[in-house]
Subunit: 180 residues, 2 copies
DNA sequence: CACTCATTTCTGCTCAGACAGAACAGGGGG
DNA sequence: CCCCCTGTTCTGTCTGAGCAGAAATGAGTG
């Protein structure tokens, strides 16, 4: 029973903060906390450990883990000699955030693109044209198309390439003849 | 009374979608809907119009407008010969999202950076070092430092420079000798 | 084939955030 | 100077997400 792994003050602080951050970004607090715990855990944890460590109900942990797996940032692993499922987070930070970004794009940006195209199509065949609204929506569409196109190219680049590019800063722009 | 401006189906569709999107990103539905309405409105609207158009309480509109102003994406304007406050959204899409990104960075990313540094500092002087947690947090810190540094450089660039860079795609990388 | 252990699903409760309506404040204009 | 128009703040209600505990499912073992 109760291996009772106590969190260090630093760990607790981080997990609590991560939970609050989650809320700001539309992610359930417990889900975010569990992810934070798995992220700093030195080994895969099983549900019972999570339950005890965070003080939430087992069912809550179960559902939250399912959601995290749905996001693709937590996966089930098996530990030899233990029947229980264990869970671990993606550990590579770049991969982690790329995965989250991919998923958010799929869930939120793509449907928005679809909706904007739909709206513009309907607007086209409407009896009373509303060119102002149309213009606004078109600008939004261009924005999302441009940025997602950009993201899709970027996401394939290696972290090192990205960070090199970042560290080059404005020099990169000059090289490319894109100075402001 | 009741100028009763009715929304077109397209407008309604867009506003409702924008509201749902808001929720996904941790923004109140009504707040997002009001923003959507102001974004597509051809002229500044006063609170009463918003109340009627969206069918929400006046107080709700008042508070939501205050929040939108806090985000810096809606501002009060005065219309000649009308004592009532009128409100309009930022119309330039790039500026709009840059403003939102700036604000989210200030509210969420910067505090996270501060917290991670705090955690690492505390971890440094702890009696029992937890090098694993420390490592994870350090990686997160590097990630946030890198990406925010990158954002801070990028945010000054003109939309046209950004879209040119995007359209260049991988060629840009090759030019910079950063190919994967 | 029953029993145990692990996990998921179901059910109902709880509470925080969202909201409406009322009360309040104030500032022009008649 | 008073009253009306506009906007804000306050207060109570309500809804839905979040959650705990119970029940159900399943999987492995003796």
């Amino acid at each position: 029973m109760s291996e009772e792994r106590r969190l260090s003050p630093v760990q607790e602080k981080f997990i609590l903060h991560w939970g609050e951050m989650g809320i700001q970004w539309g992610i359930n607090r417990t889900v975010a906390q569990i992810h934070a715990l798995l992220f700093i855990a030195p080994r895969p944890l099983h549900a019972e450990e999570i339950t005890e460590t965070l003080g939430v109900a087992r069912s809550n942990v179960s559902n939250s883990l399912k959601e995290l797996q749905g996001w693709g940032i937590v996966r089930r692993v098996h530990v030899m000699g233990d029947r229980r499922d264990h869970f671990e987070s993606l550990k590579d930070v770049w991969e982690l955030f790329r995965t989250i970004a991919d998923e958010r794009k799929k869930r939120e940006v793509d449907p928005t693109l679809a909706l904007l195209r739909e709206c513009l199509a309907e607007s086209d065949k409407a009896l009373v044209r509303d060119s102002h609204t149309e213009g606004r929506l078109r600008e939004l569409l261009v924005f999302f198309e441009t940025t997602t196109g950009w993201y899709e190219r970027l996401r394939g680049w290696s972290p090192s390439a990205l960070s090199q590019l970042a560290s080059m800063g404005d020099r990169a722009l000059k090289l490319l003849g894109l100075g402001t």
